[in-house]
């Protein structure tokens, strides 16, 4: 019984750590937090305004290994997807991919929420601009 290899891999070598300029109109920023363990997660997407495809993603998470691994995985998965495809990512997929234990399921929820929040932010910016 030990943390799954994948969690440890993402925890030790997190992908796409960093940030984009949040004022960039092609960037959507999602910021979420879990009250019970103080985890905070910022996930940012860079969207091609022409195609609506997510070209790049970055994250920064303060929290436990599972939260870091979940967000790291989320940034890998959203790249190359359209906004709608990214919205379809469910936390259970993250749970299964990382074999998260029950007590850490909320970390995957956080990652799913972060994707949604980032896309919302991007859409808000885009629609505001179009007006």
């Amino acid at each position: 019984m030990s943390y799954s290899e994948k969690v440890l891999d993402h925890y030790n070598n997190p992908r796409n750590v960093g940030s984009f300029d949040k004022n960039d109109p092609t960037v959507g920023t999602g910021m979420v937090g879990a009250p019970e363990c103080g985890d905070v997660m910022r996930l940012q997407l860079k969207v091609n305004p022409e195609t609506g495809v997510i070209e790049d993603a970055k994250f920064k998470t303060f929290g436990c290994g599972s939260a870091i691994a979940s967000s790291s995985l989320a940034t890998e998965w959203v790249k190359g997807r359209t906004l709608d495809q990214a919205l379809a990512i469910k936390n259970v997929e993250i749970v299964n991919e990382l074999s998260l234990p029950p007590v850490k399921i909320h970390c995957s929820v956080l990652a799913e929420d972060a994707i949604k929040a980032a896309i919302n932010d991007y859409k808000k910016k885009r629609d505001g601009e179009g007006r």
């Binding site: 910021m31 979420v32 937090g33 879990a34 009250p35 019970e36 363990c37 103080g38 905070v40 910022r42 920064k60 303060f62 399921i105 909320h106 929820v109 956080l110 929420d113």
Partner: protein, 206 residues
């Protein structure tokens, strides 16, 4: 509790730590309020609770039963464990409220993640970045963190006051939706409290 009556003298069952007939230590009740003989209220007089705790400790602690019968020694250990658990839980408003919610069949906040207000999140993120900087030796992050700590502490104080008001409100009317509000307040407080601790730790660690 003690449904079968006193194990030693056979005296009739009653709610007490010691048999009222032969003064023998009885198997303890596991409900904290019943164990301590307290009215089931969310608002607890903590200094009075502490006095009560010390008094009961003197009576039931295993140190007092070193030369007792095996039954008495076992009950003394059980009773003191429950006494300590009860005191630890009821003296702290948050632990008390969580215990209360659970006893009322409401899961205290935890797994079912609730959103944290975004305006707070932004700051939390900044604080975490500053903490990371400080851990890396960036002393310039310290003043900002100290200011943030003061803000979070004040916020926690406000939330505690809210919680206290909700406790009193519940004790008056025993309405279930007050319990739901308490649950919400606990959720928010837990986040802020974690933050305070994290910043405190970051500021004191070397």
């Amino acid at each position: 509790m003690n449904a079968a009556g006193c194990w030693k003298c056979g005296g009739e069952p009653h709610d007490s730590l010691f048999c009222k007939f032969c003064n023998t230590l009885l198997p303890p009740a596991t409900d904290y309020y019943r164990f301590l003989g307290l009215e089931r209220r969310l608002d607890v007089d903590v200094p009075a609770l502490q006095d009560h705790y010390y008094r009961l400790s003197r009576l039931v602690h295993p140190d007092r039963f070193q030369n007792g019968t095996p039954n008495e020694r076992r009950f003394s250990l059980d009773a003191t464990a429950i006494l300590n658990d009860a005191y630890r839980t009821l003296r702290d408003p948050v632990a008390r409220a969580e215990y209360f919610l659970r006893e009322e069949g409401l899961e205290p906040p935890g797994q079912n993640t609730r959103r944290v207000p975004p305006e707070l999140l932004e700051e939390v993120f900044e604080v975490n970045t500053a903490l990371e900087e400080l851990r890396g030796g960036g002393e310039s992050a310290r003043p900002g963190l100290e200011a943030a700590l003061a803000r979070f502490r004040a916020l926690r104080g406000e939330l505690d006051a809210d919680l206290g008001a909700l406790f009193a409100l519940y004790d008056r009317g025993r309405e279930r939706d007050v319990l739901m509000k308490i649950r919400g307040a606990l959720d928010r407080r837990s986040f802020v409290s974690n933050l305070v601790e994290e910043v405190e730790e970051g500021l004191t660690a070397r």
